[in-house]
Amino acid sequence: MKTLVCITALVILMLTACSSTKRIETQYYLLDSPTLASAEPIEVTKSKPTILVTVATLPEYLQQTNLLLQLSDHQLHFAKFHQWAEPLQVGLVNSLVRELNKDADKNHYQATTDIATPSYDGELKLVVTAFQPTHQSQAMFSGHYTLNSFQSNSVKKQQAFHLTVPLNADGYHHAVMQLRQLVQQLAAQIRRDLIAIAAQQSAANTK
């Protein structure tokens, strides 16, 4: 009887030993989440000038599906189990468009050419140089954007930007949230710039 108990105990021990390993699953992230508070349907008004938003350049290391962590000034780490659910370029443009359109009173922003639009009045071209969490416990978003007017066929504004927010929690999930916040900050900056341009134009017109 004793031996039976011993064998049973041993078998149970071995089976539980097999199942004790922690299971790691790949995590997927969305930059432009439809569940965000800002993700409300945007009404397309035909009377507003339409501006096409494109990401002209994204560094090669940001075109990966893996999330990125900058470990030092010259070292990057691609997360093995944390991935973008869609290409970063798409998520970036979509989230930027969403933020821009949120308070847009004058212009309507559009991400892709899929929607049938007869013509665009201008183009916002974004060149990204960095978009990642860093070893300094902050999320970083830098690059420059260009505002082109198709009507006058001229460059209205070219502005470099370098935005950071501190990370308040560990993990990639929080880092993605902070990156999304950086997009929001950029959109706010662009809107401010546009308002300034419009003010300059109206001032010039009144003169």
Binding site: S20, T21, K22, I24, T26, T65, N66, L69, L71, H77, A79, K80, F81, Q83, P133, S137, Q138, A139, P166, L167, N168, A169, D170, G171, Y172, H174, A175
Partner: protein, 552 residues
């Protein structure tokens, strides 16, 4: 000591031999038996005379018959005069019956000739001596080896005959005898008779073709390719492929001759130059006449046909008979060239015997009296060969027959030769009278016109070429537009928004997603190949960390 108690020894003489003596006896018996066995199986020692011992080795070179070992060379030494080699060989007792007077020995070595390649196996095994057992009853222990293997294996069924030729033919051992393209025999041996200055060839005809040979069989040469230019034109003849490269002889019975009687071994036959010469030999009887030609006989050769109304009735036997100068005096008159012709009664259906000969001679003598003339005619314009044509001159009055030595003379029809000359002269005159100067002027004019015409044709062809190229370009452009339309259709099918394009995009996206899913696994495997089985659960992957002053 008590001697009385010791019994007396009973001594008996030994009568029998001790069994121990059987041992040496048996040993002696076994020794004798071994000696007898050795002597009885040793075989017979023979001596073979060779010209050279090339390739042979004592104790190694075998003696074989039909590739079966029957003995071995035991000793090789030079003969006393030093011009040959004596090979001593032991022949097995089982093959002693082959050692008879007409057995033949020769060395088998690799041999390459036009008749084939033989003895290749000896390249590796070394040469051996082949024996061809004879049929004689008398035993013999000394032999002279053949210098080369016999062309025909001994005991091959067939017939040996002797051919002779005093012409310029040269046949070698192994040259074929052809009959209707088949090789039915070959030359075995060549012997030149110095007295007769004739070459004799020993020839073997294989069975069953030896049955074709009869007393009326004629042999003729078919060496190489024979081009024959004669009064009948050009003819090309050859035996078979082998004789195109080597020499050969064929045979047959001339048309119209009976088959003849069967022949025995070593019968003699002549080799004729060609089939025609052989055919001509079927006529044995002939009567001879002389034709005195007052013109050139260049082109008239011995064997040239003598025809009567297109039928060959004989041939020219000689064209250079010795001239007979009357009374050995120098004469002012020119000489006539005597040409000896022989007419064969067999050719015109008369019996080929004395009776036919007589009938033909009488008939010809009769005709000569009543105007039979001989005329030299050109048989072939290309070669200029001449033949003798016999024709009747009905206007000729009866005349006496002339004699040239022992032969009757058939008069030549000099008129015909004169006519020919006259015609030739007339032709030359006509040729002279042709107005060549005006003709050349006309020709020049014509050439100029032709040149102008050629220029016009060249211009026309240029314009035609341009026209054709225009047409071609139009055709090409229409084909091009068709192709472009097809390409348009294709691009429409594949353009964005089309079903195919969407399908491709979906597929690519699915593929990308799958690859993305696989990527971590692949990376993990790359980093730790055994992680699929042994997962220690430790994940040392760095993650973004919160700011030091931050609060959760």
């Amino acid at each position: 000591m008590n001697n009385s108690s010791t019994p007396e020894a009973n001594v008996k003489p030994v009568k029998t031999v001790s069994p121990i003596w059987f041992v040496p006896l048996i040993a002696v018996f076994i020794g004798c038996w071994m000696l007898y066995y050795q002597l009885s199986t040793e075989g017979t020692e023979i001596k073979i005379h060779f010209a050279t011992a090339e390739g042979m080795e004592a104790g190694k070179t075998k003696i074989k018959s039909r590739n079966v070992d029957i003995g071995e060379v035991s000793k090789i030494e030079l003969n006393q005069t030093g011009n040959g080699v004596i090979v001593t060989a032991k022949i097995k007792a089982s093959a002693e019956q082959f050692l008879v007077a007409d057995s033949m020995f020769w060395v088998v070595a690799p041999q390459i000739s036009h008749t084939g390649v033989s003895g290749l196996s000896t390249l590796i095994s070394g040469v051996y001596i082949e024996i061809s057992p004879g049929k004689s009853q008398s035993e013999r222990l000394q032999f002279d080896a053949l210098n080369s293997p016999p062309v025909t294996p001994v005991d091959t069924p067939g017939l040996h005959i002797t051919l002779n030729s005093d012409d310029q033919f040269a046949y070698a051992k192994g040259d074929p005898i052809i009959y209707k393209g088949l090789t039915v025999g070959q030359f075995e041996d060549i012997y030149f008779n110095f007295d007769e200055r004739v070459v004799y060839y020993n020839v073997f005809i294989k069975a069953p073709y030896h049955q074709l040979l009869t007393s009326n069989t004629k042999f003729w040469d078919v060496s190489g390719i024979q081009f024959d230019l004669n009064a009948d034109g050009i003819s090309v003849k050859t035996g078979n492929f082998e004789t195109m490269l080597t020499n050969g002889v064929t045979f047959g019975i001339p048309d119209g001759m009976p088959v003849g009687e069967k022949i025995g071994e070593r019968s003699y036959f002549d080799i004729y130059k060609n089939q025609d010469a052989a055919d001509d030999e079927r006529y044995r009887r002939s009567i001879e006449f002389v034709v005195l030609v007052s013109d050139s006989i260049r082109g008239l050769s011995v064997g040239a046909p003598v025809e009567y109304r297109g039928v060959q009735i004989g041939q020219v036997s000689s064209t250079n008979m010795a001239l007979k100068i009357a009374d050995e005096n120098i004469t002012k008159n020119d000489f006539k060239i005597p040409v000896l012709i022989s007419l064969q009664p067999g050719r015109i259906g008369l019996p080929d015997n004395e009776q036919g000969q007589r009938i033909m001679a009488e008939q010809n003598m009769q005709w000569i009296k009543h105007g039979l003339n001989a005329v030299l005619r050109t048989g072939n314009l290309l070669t200029g060969s001449l033949y003798v044509d016999l024709q009747h001159n009905k206007d000729q009055a009866s005349r006496e027959t002339q004699q040239y030595g022992e032969y009757a003379v058939i008069p030549t029809s000099s008129d015909n030769f004169a006519q020919m000359t006259a015609k030739a002269e007339q032709f030359m005159d006509n040729l002279n009278n042709i107005p060549l100067h005006s003709l050349s002027n006309n020709a020049n004019h014509l050439m100029q016109e032709i040149g102008e015409s050629a220029q016009a044709i060249a211009k026309m062809s240029e314009s035609l070429e341009a026209l054709l190229s225009d047409v071609k370009q139009q055709q090409v452009s229409s084909e091009l537009s068709n192709t472009l339309q097809s390409i348009n259709l294709l691009t429409k099918d594949l353009s964005s928004g089309s079903q195919a394009y969407q399908d491709v995009r979906t597929t690519l996206k699915t593929l990308t997603a799958t690859m993305n899913e696989l990527k971590p696994l692949l990376k993990q495997l790359k980093h730790q190949p055994n992680s699929l089985i042994f997962n220690n659960g430790v994940t040392t992957e760095p993650e973004p960390s919160k700011h030091s002053g931050a609060q959760q």
